[in-house]
C-alpha cells in the first residue's frame, strides 16, 4: 500500500482528536473519540492533515462528523459516548448453565469440554441448579437470559425443566425480563421435549458447520449422521414455529458455524446450506483455542489470512443473495455495523469495551463453580482455575461480580488501557477477549499485534469499511437492514403486570 508523504507540511492546529488507518489505495479511514467516521481520498486526507480544508467540500463533511476543532460539538460527543457505554450501568444479563458435561457427539474442536455418556457425575443436581438460578436473579440487570449448555443439555433434560420451572416461579416476584435459550446438537430431541420447550418459549440454537460432508467430518455421532439428526429437527422446529403463528423470518432455529480448515474452501456451499435450512443468519466464527481445539490444532487450525479470505467470500455471497431477495445476515458484520452505522452497542459481550466477562455474563458449571464466562469454565475443565469466582453454595452475588479477577478483566479489556487498541482506528467499535489472551499469550492483557482475535477483528472491519466506501447501493441497503434489531418478543417472559 502506498504511503503518503506528508513530512514538512503537517499542521495539527485545526483537527479535533482523530485516529486514522489506510484501508486501501487512495483511501484513509478516520474515526474519532465518539465513533463517527469518514473515508477520505488522498487529496482530501492531505488537506485534512495539513489544515487546508477551509473552502473545500470536505470541510463541511469533516465538521458535520466532529473532526474539526472549530465548532466541535462537545455535548454531542458526550451523548454519543454515553449511548455506546450504556451497558455499564447494569450487571450480568447472560447466565450460562452447564447442566451436564455428558455429550452424545464427539467434535474435533470440542468447545465444551465434554464427558462420555456414562459420566453421570458430571450432571448438575437440582439443588445446584436452584442455587445457580438464585444467584442469576440477584443480577442488577433488569433482563436476564439463562442459556443451557453442556455437554449436551438434552442429556440432563430433567434439570433443564427444573431450572425453567424454578426461574419462572422466581420471576413472579423478581419481575425481570426473562429469556431461555438452549444450545443443542438436537440429536436427542423428541416430540415431547420439543413441545415442552415451545410451551416455555425456549429459544433453540444448534451448530451447523456446513454441508453434510463437512459437518459430519467435524462432529461425530456414533452410528448415524450428526448433520441428518440436526437438520431433521431444524426443519421440524421451524415448522412448529410457523404452526404457532410466528413469523419465520424472525422465529427459526439459530445455527452457529465453527470454521475449521475443512470449511475454508467452501464458503458458498456453507451459505447455501444455511439458506436451505431456513436460517436467516450465519455467524462466521473462527476456531478458538478452548476445549480440545488446542490439542487438535494441527489438524483443524489455519492462518488467519485464510480465514479472512473465507470471510470475505462468504459475506460477498450473502450480499449477492440479499440482492436476489434472500433475507440473510452475517452476525459478525451485523455487530460491527450496528456500532458503525447506528452509534449503538448491541451488547455482544466479547466485542465491547470493557468486555462482558463477569460484568455481563456468568457461567455456572455442573458442580456449582461459578466462572467469569463460558471460556473460563472450559479452561477450568483443563485444570486452569484462573477464572473461577466462587461457588453457588457459599459465594454471595456481590463477592462474585466484585471479585478481583473480574476487576482485572474489566481493566484489561478496556481498550483505552491497551497498547495498539488505544491508538487503533477501530477502537470505538471493537473489543478483546481476556480469556483468549490468557490462554494464548499468558496474561489477561495479551499483545494485540500478535493476537488472532485482533487480526480477525481488524480484517473484518477493513472489509466492512471498504464496502461502505465502495458505496454500492444494494450493499448499503443490506448493511442498513442488518443493523435493524427486531426483538423476538415471543421469547421474552415479561415481568408480571407489564
Amino acid at each position: 500500500m502506498q504511503l503518503l508523504d506528508l513530512r514538512g507540511s503537517l499542521d495539527a492546529r485545526t483537527q479535533a482528536f482523530f485516529r486514522h488507518r489506510r484501508i486501501g489505495p487512495d483511501r484513509t479511514l478516520l474515526t474519532n473519540l465518539e465513533g463517527q467516521w469518514l473515508v477520505l481520498d488522498d487529496e482530501d486526507f492531505r488537506r485534512f492533515a495539513t489544515g487546508a480544508t477551509e473552502g473545500t467540500p470536505v470541510h463541511e463533511r469533516l465538521r458535520a462528523k466532529n473532526f474539526l476543532r472549530d465548532g466541535y460539538d462537545e455535548a454531542k460527543a458526550r451523548e454519543t459516548i454515553a449511548a455506546r457505554k450504556r451497558f455499564l450501568g447494569y450487571g450480568p444479563n447472560l447466565h450460562v448453565m452447564v447442566v451436564t458435561l455428558r455429550c452424545n457427539e464427539t467434535c474435533v474442536y470440542c468447545h465444551a469440554s465434554r464427558a462420555d455418556m456414562d459420566a453421570v457425575e458430571t450432571d448438575m443436581s437440582k439443588e445446584t441448579a436452584e442455587r445457580s438460578v438464585d444467584l442469576a436473579f440477584q443480577s442488577t440487570s433488569p433482563a436476564i437470559t439463562i442459556e443451557f449448555q453442556g455437554g449436551e443439555p438434552l442429556v440432563n433434560f430433567e434439570v433443564v425443566q427444573h431450572i425453567i420451572a424454578y426461574a419462572e416461579e422466581k420471576n413472579r416476584t423478581a419481575g425481570k425480563t426473562l429469556e431461555f435459550t438452549m444450545v443443542s446438537n438436537l440429536a436427542l430431541m423428541t416430540e415431547e421435549r420439543l413441545a415442552y420447550l415451545l410451551d416455555h418459549r425456549v429459544q433453540i440454537c444448534t451448530s451447523i458447520d456446513g454441508p453434510k460432508a463437512i459437518h459430519d467430518k467435524q462432529r461425530k455421532l456414533p452410528t448415524m449422521s450428526a448433520f441428518d439428526e440436526a437438520t431433521v429437527w431444524i426443519k421440524r422446529i421451524n415448522e412448529a414455529y410457523r404452526a404457532r403463528g410466528l413469523d419465520p423470518s424472525l422465529y427459526h432455529v439459530e445455527a452457529l458455524l465453527t470454521t475449521t480448515r475443512a470449511a475454508l474452501d467452501a464458503p458458498e456451499a456453507i451459505v447455501d446450506t444455511y439458506e436451505e435450512l431456513g436460517c436467516h443468519a450465519v455467524f462466521l466464527r473462527p476456531l478458538d483455542p478452548f476445549g480440545f481445539a488446542g490439542k487438535t490444532a494441527k489438524m483443524v487450525e489455519y492462518e488467519r489470512r485464510r480465514y479472512l479470505d473465507f470471510y470475505a467470500r462468504a459475506t460477498d455471497y450473502i450480499l449477492e443473495k440479499n440482492r436476489a431477495g434472500v433475507q440473510m445476515i452475517e452476525r459478525y458484520a451485523a455487530i460491527f455495523l450496528t456500532k458503525i452505522l447506528r452509534g449503538e452497542d448491541p451488547n455482544f459481550l466479547d466485542i465491547r469495551s470493557p468486555a462482558g466477562a463477569g460484568i455481563g455474563q456468568l457461567a455456572y458449571s455442573y458442580d456449582g463453580n461459578v466462572y467469569t464466562c463460558d471460556e473460563g469454565r472450559m479452561l477450568a475443565a483443563q485444570g486452569d482455575d484462573t477464572f473461577r469466582l466462587g461457588h453457588v453454595d457459599e459465594s454471595r452475588y456481590r463477592d462474585i461480580v466484585g471479585h478481583p479477577t473480574v476487576r482485572a478483566m474489566v481493566i484489561a479489556s478496556n481498550l483505552d488501557s491497551q497498547p495498539d487498541c488505544v491508538a487503533c482506528t477501530y477502537n470505538p467499535y471493537c473489543g478483546i477477549q481476556t480469556t483468549h489472551n490468557h490462554k494464548t499469550q499468558g496474561s489477561v492483557f495479551g499483545r494485540m499485534r500478535e493476537s488472532n482475535i485482533c487480526a480477525v477483528h481488524k480484517g473484518i472491519q477493513d472489509y466492512l469499511f471498504n464496502k461502505l466506501a465502495d458505496g454500492e447501493p444494494h450493499v448499503l441497503e443490506a448493511f442498513e437492514r442488518w443493523t435493524t434489531i427486531r426483538a423476538r418478543e415471543h421469547f421474552l417472559h415479561a415481568p408480571a403486570g407489564s
Partner: protein
C-alpha cells in the same frame, strides 16, 4: 545475584549479544535491558507472564541494566530455537508492558471511571445480608489529615484533647510539635 554464565553462551541471530544470548549448557536465555528504557513495573509484568513455563530470575548486573534469566521448565524441541523464541516473546512483552504502563498513567482517570462504573453497576447496592456482615467496629480508614474528626476534637485546647480518644495521626503530629 544471577548464577555465573557458562563460558559457552551463544548469540541470537539479529540481536546484539550484549542484550540477549542463550546458554545451551544451562538451557536458559538471558536478556539484559536498559533500566532507563523500561520501568521496573513493566519488567515485573513481562517476566511474570513466563512463570508458568520458566523459572524466572531478575537481577541488576550493573546500575543501569536489568537482567531477566529464563530457564524453561521443559524444552521438548530444539533447545536453541525454543530459547530464541522465548527471548523474542519476552522482548515483545516488555515493549507491550512498558507502553501499557505509560498508557495507564495517561488514561488513569478514564480507566478508573469506567472500571468503577462497570463494577458498581454490576454489584448494585449492598443487601441487608451484606450489611449484616460489615464490620463496623474496625477503624474505617487512616485519617492523617483529621478529616473525619469533629472540630472540637481537632482544634480544642491540648488539655482537653488529651482527654479525648486518639483518633488520627494529625492530632499526634500536632502534639509532637
Amino acid at each position: 545475584m544471577s548464577p555465573p554464565e557458562s563460558p559457552t553462551t551463544n548469540p541470537i541471530a539479529g540481536i546484539p549479544e550484549d542484550l540477549a544470548r542463550v546458554d545451551l549448557d544451562e538451557r536458559r536465555a538471558i536478556l539484559d535491558v536498559e533500566a532507563s528504557l523500561y520501568p521496573v513495573e513493566a519488567v515485573y509484568g513481562a517476566a511474570y507472564v513466563f512463570i508458568d513455563r520458566c523459572y524466572v530470575l531478575l537481577d541488576r548486573p550493573e546500575p543501569t541494566k536489568l537482567r531477566i534469566v529464563l530457564t524453561p521448565k521443559q524444552l521438548d524441541e530444539d533447545a536453541a530455537e525454543g530459547l530464541r523464541r522465548m527471548v523474542g516473546e519476552l522482548a515483545n512483552e516488555l515493549v507491550s508492558a512498558a507502553w501499557r504502563h505509560q498508557i495507564t498513567q495517561e488514561n488513569r482517570a478514564q480507566i478508573e471511571a469506567v472500571t468503577m462504573q462497570a463494577i458498581a453497576g454490576a454489584m448494585g447496592p449492598p443487601s441487608l445480608d451484606d450489611l449484616e456482615d460489615f464490620d463496623f467496629t474496625d477503624e474505617a480508614f487512616e485519617d492523617p489529615l483529621g478529616i473525619a474528626m469533629s472540630w472540637e476534637e481537632k482544634y480544642s485546647k491540648k488539655d482537653d484533647a488529651a482527654e479525648t480518644a486518639e483518633p488520627a495521626a494529625t492530632q499526634r503530629e500536632e502534639e509532637e510539635e
